[in-house]
């Protein structure tokens, strides 16, 4: 999580492919993002992997990890519980909310034309016609 934050800000700032973004379409887990952003989801995922890695490393002596595994399971349970509660609340709010109609327009202008000042008027008119 810290590394993701670090690489998103230094040296050039490349916030690509944060692990937590992978669960953007898993709404129950993703709800934790309203507490700590995508980094909170990443933390959840790394926590699960760390527990698994420690269990593999411990082998037959895995019993000594019971407190740590219990803590991990508790945190994961809290994340999932919060997500379930929050997602249900959001769905309920959305169901009650008024609706409106929106449209998105993408003119699909080639990069070379988009940055050319001589094309500005033509592109403006093209956008208006859409």
């Amino acid at each position: 999580m810290s590394v993701e934050y670090l690489r998103a800000h230094v040296p050039f700032g490349t916030p690509w492919a944060l692990l937590g973004l992978a669960l953007a379409e898993a709404p129950t887990v993703a709800q934790i993002a309203d507490v700590g952003g995508a980094y909170a989801i990443s933390f959840t995922l790394v926590l699960a992997s760390a527990a698994l890695a420690e269990t593999i490393a411990a082998g037959a002596a895995w019993q000594r990890l019971v407190p740590a595994l219990t803590a991990t399971a508790t945190i994961l349970g809290l994340v999932l519980g919060y997500g379930t509660f929050r997602y249900a609340a959001i769905r309920a709010a959305v169901a009650k909310a008024p609706t409106t109609r929106v449209a998105l327009v993408h003119p699909e202008i080639p990069n070379a034309e988009r940055l050319n000042p001589r094309q500005a008027v033509k592109l403006f008119e093209q956008n208006l016609t859409l």
């Binding site: 810290s2 890695a53 490393a57």
Partner: protein, 160 residues
């Protein structure tokens, strides 16, 4: 390395625990401490970890893999020394950066910006800087692990 591990364990009073079959961090280090073998294992895990991270995102979108994607990196550690931990995790970070970025950036740079293959290679070299923060992670994970009885061989005195 194995001898050193036993010596260190003895000084901390945990030799019996380590030699009685408790598979802890100490055993992981001592069993993989030989240079080339360790680097080979680390390189495979780095590649595997990077591949997991790539498969998590489109076009593959195997999102379930995100739950275990960091696992190979975590299994790399503890390393025999801080330098090896840094190199191993940096390698993962660099492979990750190239794996995540190169497939879409290469055609985009060439098709949209008209860059030559050489220029594109230069840009991808620049992308490799994304691996640098991971080097720091390797050092932090190495330095921060607890000197528990099962990790007795990895105390600060023995780190290279």
């Amino acid at each position: 390395m194995r001898v050193q591990a036993k010596a260190m364990a003895a000084t901390s009073g945990s030799a019996r625990r380590i030699e009685s079959g408790g598979r802890g961090r100490a055993d992981r280090v001592s069993s993989t401490a030989s240079g080339p073998a360790w680097f080979m294992r680390a390189a495979i895990l780095a590649g595997l970890g990077a591949a997991f991270h790539v498969f998590v995102f489109p076009p593959f979108s195997w999102t379930w893999l995100a739950w275990v994607a960091p696992l190979p990196v975590l299994l790399m550690l503890p390393a025999p020394s801080a330098a090896k931990a840094v190199i191993a995790v940096w390698l993962f970070g660099t492979l990750w950066a190239l794996g995540v970025v190169a497939p879409w950036m290469t055609p985009a740079l060439q098709a949209l910006f008209g860059l030559s293959s050489l220029q594109t290679a230069g840009m991808l070299l620049l992308v490799c800087q994304c691996g640098l923060p991971f080097a720091l992670l390797g050092w932090v994970l190495h330095a921060g692990r607890p000197a528990t009885p099962s990790g007795a061989c990895c105390s600060r005195r023995q780190r290279g």
